[in-house]
């Protein structure tokens, strides 16, 4: 049996501080997750992962490292996992979703940085998260100013590769992104010592496409009139997808989808009939950020879809699997990733189209546009999003928040009032 404490010690973690985090998580998870009734049985897998969150997957990763595999830590859905897989590498998400890590980040970053960046930097520098210790190389991208500068600080502590994101989506920008992917592939090849061949890349593309399809199946089941799974549970599945082995992730998501599809046939719902259906759009919710979903789902509404990086942006659209040369494959990968609509692009009208389409597909009663405090991009785009919703006759509520507890009651009042407004 593995002894996690030994493992954490070997990883050079600050055990005492880490223990403080270990105290908060079970309580918060109990309040937010175990308080729910009639959850799908398939969620047992993710409950289990949470209960061993800093133990089970980290020990798998360390085992893989002993066998010569390299672990790449990423922070964004634009970084192509396929390429890493093709070189027999492993990808793990590294985004910080807890207030616990924020003060550590604030030691080196301006307070007016978004909590996701502050938490990520804090988790690394304070040595309180095993994933941040394990990753052999961090892969950053230039999606916002806060991240660009944070990479410079993290880069003093850990090997980093930065992918230069285009800011527009003209043909030359997509070509440039294909080039960036090639440069990244070369870095990965050198770092792992494994050459990427068309066959290996094709395998990588297939594995990640299968994960996308499985996650999408779960989402598709949420379109049903009954609500077979809470938004919180679906969010948890998405959050852990960033950390898990992609094949196992797909297997578990498919199993959950089987169960949800059966629930839809049997008209099983985890909310009373008539519960208002909410689409959440905006900034990502990294684990363990369950705050907004919890507030919504304890205020008389249900989240049925997330147009976020920890939602549809992660799995929508597949990479074309018919390409056979590396050149074509990189272009196909670039095409797929440039189909994601993030507020870092200008213009970004595709996102509004996505939200309108999802609002229809998931038959939502209202949209909640959430912004992580100090995310200038999504905050500014909020105007366009909210206007488009109003023009389409879809009620919308804009909310700005962070990882702290103190605004909970104020948010609850707003959300309850919004739900009352929906009728």
């Amino acid at each position: 049996m593995s002894n996690y404490v030994e493992m954490w010690k070997e990883l050079g973690m600050d055990l005492e501080t880490h223990d403080a985090l270990c105290q908060v998580l079970p309580t918060a998870f109990g309040d937010m997750y175990l308080s729910q009734e009639n959850r799908p049985e398939g969620m047992g897998f993710w409950d289990f992962v949470v209960s061993e969150i800093h133990g089970i997957r980290p020990s798998e990763l360390i085992e893989a490292q002993k066998n010569g595999q390299k672990v790449f830590g990423t922070f964004c859905v634009y970084v192509p996992d396929e390429v890493v897989l093709a070189a027999n590498g492993i990808v793990t998400g590294l985004c910080g979703g807890s207030q616990f890590w924020v003060p550590g980040g604030e030691k080196v970053l301006p307070k007016s940085t978004c909590p996701l960046i502050k938490a990520s930097v804090g988790a690394r520098l304070e040595r309180t998260c095993p994933f941040f210790r394990i990753a052999d190389m961090y892969v950053g991208e230039t999606t916002c100013d806060g991240k660009k500068k944070a990479w410079e600080i993290l880069g003093q502590d850990v090997p980093m590769h930065i992918m230069d994101m285009p800011q527009m989506k003209r043909p030359q920008d997509i070509e440039k992104w294909a080039d960036e992917i090639k440069i990244f592939a070369k870095v990965v090849e050198d770092f792992t010592g494994n050459a990427i061949t068309p066959e290996k890349l094709s395998e990588g593309i297939h594995v990640i496409n299968e994960r996308r399809k499985a996650l999408k199946r779960v989402y598709d089941a949420r379109k049903s009139k009954n609500i077979p799974i809470s938004g919180k549970d679906a969010l948890l599945m998405m959050q852990i997808a960033f950390f898990d082995d992609p094949v196992r992730c797909a297997e578990m998501a498919n199993k959950l989808a089987d169960e949800l599809e059966q629930r839809n046939k049997d008209n099983v719902s985890v909310f009373p009939a008539g519960t208002k259906r909410i689409l959440v759009t905006g900034t990502p919710m990294a684990i363990p950020n369950w705050k907004l979903h919890h507030l919504i789902e304890t205020s008389g509404a249900a989240v049925v879809c997330e147009e976020t990086c920890t939602g549809t942006r992660y799995f929508e659209n597949l990479v074309d699997e018919t390409k056979t040369t590396l050149e074509e494959q990189y272009a196909a990968i670039a095409d797929r990733y440039m189909g994601i609509n993030c507020a870092c692009f200008t213009p970004n009208s595709g996102r509004v189209d996505d939200i309108l389409r999802l609002a229809k597909e998931y038959d939502v009663d209202g949209v909640i546009d959430v912004n992580l405090k100090f995310c200038c991009l999504y905050d500014t785009e909020g105007y366009t999003v909210e206007k488009a919703m109003k023009d389409a006759g879809i009620p919308v509520l804009g909310i700005e928040t962070d990882y702290t507890d103190e605004d909970a009651e104020q948010l609850r009042t707003r959300i309850e009032a919004f739900v009352e407004m929906l009728g």
Binding site: E406, Q410, T413, A417, E420
Partner: protein
Amino acid sequence: MNYIGIDIGSTCAKLAVLNEQKETVLKLVQPTGWSSVDTAEEIRKKLQDENIDPEREACVATGYGRIAVPYADKMITEITCHAKGAVWLHDCDNVVVIDIGGQDTKVIRIENGMVKDFVMNDKCSAGTGRFLEVMANSLALRPDEMCDLAASGGGTSISSMCTVFAESEVISLIGRGEKKENIAFAVVDSIATKVASQAGRFNVGKEEVCLTGGLCECDYIRRTLEEKLHSRVVSSPEGRFAGAYGAALSAMRVRK
């Protein structure tokens, strides 16, 4: 059957009781104090003194202390209640309601008698009753006295939005020997500017605006808001009970 509406705000608790004919049977206002649970109990006693049994009548609680009223049949947010109350008080179905409350300020757009959209201030207390109260304190005035005094002042301004910084600005103005009415003017101007910018998102223009909440009794604030918003702002002497009336009206739909 009587219909009880209780609005427990951060500063004051308001009670309104309506009968079947929507006539006011009882209304009262009292400081919330430090415990909304105790306040709710005091209100229960006052109701019982008037031979109104809250357990038997329909009762709706609203305001930030709405969860502290154990005998309420239903809790409804202050947004919905203020909107309902304002529509009823002003007999107007299309209106923008501005409620300057103790710790938050709400702007609510109402179309055909229904809430269509709303904004609330964030954690910050700028533009709320609390801001006014703190400034009045440092001038050794009651909030209503300060508002009345503001009408005869002018010529100075406060630049800080933050209550703490604004208070030290006021103190340094006092230290410089600035006249009280001029400081009062600056305080009211600061609040009205903040509230108007919050309402700005709604392009208030054609619609009538009605001012509710504790500050609506001050005509000078109403006039200042009118100037800043370039639209007619109305208020009612009962405006501070808008939330409680809205709750009482909602209680008419509670089944007992």
